[in-house]
């Protein structure tokens, strides 16, 4: 019987396992389907990781390497090349691995750290032929950075998520010509710094409020048609631009990978596509926790690390101190302009000093006020100079404030006029 089984050996799983070990759990197992730990960080060879956590700028492999080294100093067990098939409600974890075959392991707690997957062409239904040369940005990143293949020479990128922007620069440095980055929304889905250092630095045009309306080509992509869209994101006839290219990269969103979570009967929040979680990242199934991109898609690995350490410590507490008394939970409601919040429920009795709350806005906002209200009363307000859907926001709600809440808590954002 394990104290904790962590599913996934990427940044979330590594941080959670280390934190749980430090908090006193001594039978901890990480199950990873790849042949090495580190997850997607291994292919993210660009720098910019770790500025919050390590206070220095690291590349993805370096960031992963630090946690793999930390893990080595613990007694956490790792099973590589092993796929989890099922998590039972009784926390029995079914897995199949190259070296160990089919095993069922029991655990006192389980931490879900499976990360996310990319949305594909099928998910966004782009019309046209079905030739070779259409890749998700992350797949192209793996080909270029780990396997040594350049997927194409003349490239259009659909979507301005961070991976797409990073790949625009990466393909350019490897000798490909990136013709355009096309974004259906009127704003970019990626971080501003990536627009600057990946597109502007290399004179790659960004077409906002545009989308790919047709893919042409028999065996290989030959052309893509890009059209301007109106406010309802409908293509405007007559606005078509034709790009001669051999490759289309898609950076059109990430979906938390929650097949195991759903199968286990754990409640899913349709807004995050991740498990509904409490303040300590515990899911609706007691003793099962979720953190990192499987819970909600993050922009920065540093926040994945911090969240996963909290989840790992919470799992340790659950094992060492028991489930604790049943406590009433406050629901966190997404108010005006807020797409989702994590956590979705807060048990004030479990909050020691403050509860960190993460959320995204649904449009670009200038100087704004984040209002926290409950029962028609304002509990707190926070100021921000600007907010954007591509940048996750967070606030800390002190325990004293939560104790004053009357029923649900609503988080809303309103723009304030300058002056």
């Amino acid at each position: 019987m394990y104290d904790l089984i962590v599913i996934g050996g990427g940044p979330a799983g590594l941080a959670a396992a280390c934190a749980a070990w430090e908090a006193g759990l001594h039978r901890v197992l990480i199950v990873e389907r790849d042949r090495e730990l580190g997850g997607i960080l291994n292919q993210c060879i660009h720098n910019g990781f770790g500025l919050h956590y390590f206070k220095e700028e690291l590349t993805g492999p370096e960031y992963a390497g630090r946690f793999v080294n930390m893990l080595r100093d613990t007694g956490v067990e790792v099973r590589l090349d092993t796929m989890v098939l099922e998590v039972g409600a009784d926390r029995r974890v079914h897995m199949v691995g190259k070296a160990t075959g089919y095993r069922v392991e029991e655990a006192r707690s389980v931490l879900l750290a499976m990360g996310c997957r990319e949305r594909t062409r099928g998910a966004i239904s782009i019309p046209g032929t079905r030739p070779a040369g259409i890749f998700t940005a992350g797949a192209a990143q793996r080909y270029v950075n780990m396997e040594g293949w350049l997927p194409g020479e003349r490239v259009v990128i659909l979507g301005s998520g961070d991976i797409g922007l990073i790949m625009a620069r990466r393909m350019t440095l490897e000798g490909a010509k990136v013709l355009a980055c096309v974004e259906v929304m009127p704003y970019s889905g990626g971080l501003n710094r990536n627009i600057v250092q990946c597109l502007h630095d290399y004179d790659i045009p960004l077409y906002l409020s545009h989308t790919v309306t047709e893919i042409r080509g028999k065996n290989r992509v030959e052309q893509v048609v890009v059209s301007k869209v109106d406010e309802q994101r409908r293509p405007i006839p007559g606005s078509e631009m034709i790009f001669d290219c051999d490759t289309l990269l898609l950076s059109v969103g990430l979906i938390p990978e929650n097949e195991l979570t759903r199968q286990a009967g754990i409640a899913i929040d349709p807004r995050t596509s991740g498990a509904v979680v409490y303040e300590n990242m515990e899911t609706s199934l007691p003793g099962v926790f979720a953190s990192g991109n499987v819970a909600h898609v993050h922009d920065l690995v540093d926040f994945v690390t911090a969240e996963s350490q909290r989840a790992g410590r919470a799992a340790a507490r659950y094992v060492l101190e028991g489930a604790g008394p049943e406590e009433s939970a406050l629901e966190v409601v997404s108010g005006d302009c807020v797409t989702y919040t994590v956590p979705q429920h807060i048990r004030p009795g479990r909050v020691e000093q403050g509860c960190e709350l993460f959320f995204r806005v649904n449009r670009v906002c200038g100087p704004s006020r984040i209002a926290v209200t409950s029962g028609g009363r304002q509990l707190a307000a926070f100021r921000r100079d600007c907010l954007a859907p591509g940048e996750m926001e967070h606030i800390t709600l002190p325990r004293a404030l939560l104790d004053k809440a009357d029923g649900a808590i609503t988080i809303a954002v309103e723009e304030v006029k300058a002056g």
């Binding site: 090495e36 291994n42 060879i45 590349t59 370096e62 396997e147 040594g148 971080l191 250092q197 940048e391």
Partner: protein
């Protein structure tokens, strides 16, 4: 007055740099933003990350970065300096792959450890 988005950290502060007034930076959230704003308008630099061919390891590419920032106008020369290079596993983290790349004073260093595979070790 020039407006920039700071790329030092993910916060992406909106900087205003006054070229006429000794490159005074406003809008920065930290001292690194001030340094970036000045540098970006006087002699912009970037850290370059790429990969280099690798034999004998689990992957045919080893990720590398410049050990410090290099002049922005040299980015393509610096990246091209990796073209003819092959490293052999085992590769250590931080191992110098190209010394003083293009005379910039920065080295290309490995950003991960790549152990030798069993097959490569057995074949030797």
């Amino acid at each position: 007055m020039k407006e920039l988005i700071c790329i030092v950290c993910p916060r992406g502060c909106h900087l205003k740099v006054d070229e006429a007034c000794g490159y005074t930076v406003t809008g920065n959230g930290c001292p690194r933003g001030e340094a970036y704003g000045k540098r970006e308008l006087t002699h912009p630099t970037r850290v370059i990350t790429s990969t280099v061919r690798c034999t004998g390891g689990a992957y045919p590419r080893c990720p590398v970065k410049t050990s410090g920032p290099v002049p922005k106008e040299r980015i393509f020369d610096v990246a091209a300096a990796l073209d003819g290079i092959t490293v052999e596993a085992p590769v250590r983290l931080g191992q110098v792959v190209v010394k003083d790349v293009c005379g910039t004073g920065a080295d290309f260093v490995s950003t991960r450890a790549l152990p030798q595979t069993d097959e490569a070790a057995g074949g030797a």
